[in-house]
């Protein structure tokens, strides 16, 4: 429930101004301007190819934006190596394809970055990892390899791995799209708990139930542009643009 989350201050932790990106000749992101407040939970939806994944990947520099500004926690995302590395440490990401490291155990996956990037001591990192694994509900899998876990369990490890870096922002790129239906709920539950604990989250997803429950805002993308954004109630009941209405009619039965 929305009232329970602590909202700290009003400054935008992510500020995007007129962000453009081209893939060769293809104009993938066309002038997106967006401000995300600390502790806010935004859901981005839209038809496939509308640029939603590309957009959130520009925030942690997995894609490079060619025009416009992106400012994360007061640091601008430019060609400056130091800025990029700082931002990547503060932003965690959960992928559609999991991308766990198959040659390492679950525990090693989660402790890798804290040990090598944050220079944490191994014992401390492992303690932290166990706490996180408990938080996502799978402490008993700590010494198994990713190949031995189910899809839902793997995705929860991914969340734990991202949380191990103590990020200020979590990005989710269609986290449940590759899961079998019976495993979607367990991952969404973890994400809901994360939202309620005050994490700033941007989630690209089609799971509208999740959006209705915990999102502060739903943002609709189409053809690389931000078409509409509103609170969930307003978005579902009073969509303003034609394209929004078309999209909603296609996904809601």
């Amino acid at each position: 429930m929305k009232g329970e989350r602590p909202v700290t201050d009003n400054e935008g932790i992510i500020i995007c101004r007129e962000v453009h990106k081209w893939f060769g000749d293809f104009h993938a992101i066309r002038g997106i301007s967006l401000t995300v407040k600390r502790g806010e939970v935004d859901v981005i939806c839209g038809p496939s190819g509308s640029g939603k994944s590309t957009f959130i990947r520009t925030i942690n520099r997995l894609e490079e934006h060619q025009r416009g500004q992106i400012i994360v926690d007061g640091i601008e995302l430019t060609h400056d190596l130091k800025n990029i590395e700082t931002i990547r440490r503060e932003v965690g990401m959960v992928f559609q394809q999991f991308n766990l490291f198959p040659h390492l155990t679950v525990m090693q996956n989660v402790t890798l970055a804290p040990v090598w990037v944050l220079k944490m001591r191994k014992g401390q990192a492992q303690k932290r990892a166990m706490e996180l694994l408990e938080r996502v509900g799978i402490p008993e899998q700590a010494h198994k390899y990713p190949g031995q876990l189910s899809g839902g369990q793997q995705q929860r490890v991914v969340i734990a791995r991202a949380l191990a870096m103590a990020p200020k922002i979590m990005l989710f790129d269609e986290p449940t799209s590759a899961l079998d239906p019976e495993m979607i709920k367990e991952v969404l539950d973890v994400m809901k708990e994360l939202a309620r604990s005050g994490m700033t989250m941007i989630v690209v997803t089609h799971e509208m139930g999740f959006a209705r429950e915990v999102a502060d805002r739903i943002i609709f993308f189409d053809f690389g542009q931000l078409i509409e954004e509103n609170t969930p109630e307003e978005f579902f009941h009073n969509p303003t643009h034609e394209r929004t209405k078309l999209f909603l009619s296609q996904i809601l039965q």
């Binding site: 500020i15 301007s33 401000t35 400012i71 601008e76 430019t78 060609h79 400056d80 190596l81």
Partner: protein
Amino acid sequence: MEKRKVVSSHAIPFWRDIRVLRVVSQIVFLVAIAAGIWWLLNNLQTNLRNSGLSITFRFLGDTAGFPISEGLTYDPTNVNVYAFLVGVVNTIRVAVIGIVLATIIGTLVGISRLSSNWLVRRLAALYVETVRNIPLLVQLFFWYFAVMLTALPLVKDSISLPGSIYLSRRGLYLPSLVPTASFSVWLWFLLGGLALAIVVYVLRRAQLKRADRPGIPIGWAAIALVLVAVAGWFIVSGNPLSIDLPVLKRFNFEGGLWLSTPFASLVLGLAMYTGAFIAEIVRAGILAVSKGQTEAAKALGLRKALVLRLVVMPQALRVIIPPLASQYLNLTKNSSLAILIGYYDLLNVGTTIFNQTGRAVEMILLIMGSYLTMSLFMSLLMNLYNRRIKLVER
């Protein structure tokens, strides 16, 4: 939305700017490599100056002065560059025949490995496992020194086979065909026959297309060519080709076609060795076509032969061709072992020229250059073929 003033281009210190780092690291790398090469070349220059030599290719015009026992018509008074050419042609001879033979052996053995007959399967596997795990040089030595030189008789005691074929330690002598005076006239008949064959092919193909049936009328074209050739033979005065029989003179045979023992050992050894690898490639290629393909084809009612020809082989070929090409390349490169069994391939001739003239750098460049050219040429052919048969995907 607050309008916060953010300076969009801080001067990014250059040691942290990604773009700068990319360029600088490349420059450093290139400089290091260039420095290394410069050092080597400098040494080369010094050493050459000290021994009074320089790098020129003029020696290629000098008289060779050494014999080459087989290949194009050559005698020691020819120039070096021609001698080298003879060597190159010899390499190509071995490579082409070796490749053809290896492909035949490899395909047969590869298919045998998938046979339903247990004995045939085991024999093929035994062949592959034996040949692949013994070094090629050992096999070549075995064929040349052990088999050919010991088992075969001396020239004066040659085994003679019907049709004027003589087998001895020096090699195989066969009757050869030699063009006569009327050959040039007959050549016109051949060209005419070829033209007629093409016409027949095109016409018949169009005819089939109109009837909407598949087919490649090579048989028709071939018949046309043969008819014209035979007709030409009789029309022309005298015989366009005459037979040259090998005749035993005092120490050796003269006339006819000579396949030397080094040549035969080289071809045999290379074909058997490379054939084993090709067999594995063919086997892997056929197995790579998923079982579902064969099942679907059978479900449509196609007989086994058609399934193989229309569904399995085209797909298998896509998997087979790239590694097959690299085996062909290996065979060509391995032909250089000829030097160790006395066959005059390009490496052998090249090193002989070096021994005569002392021109190390130039000969190395020539030798490596020749092999590189052949490699590049084969890779090019293979890429072209690959592109043509690529599966069209989204």
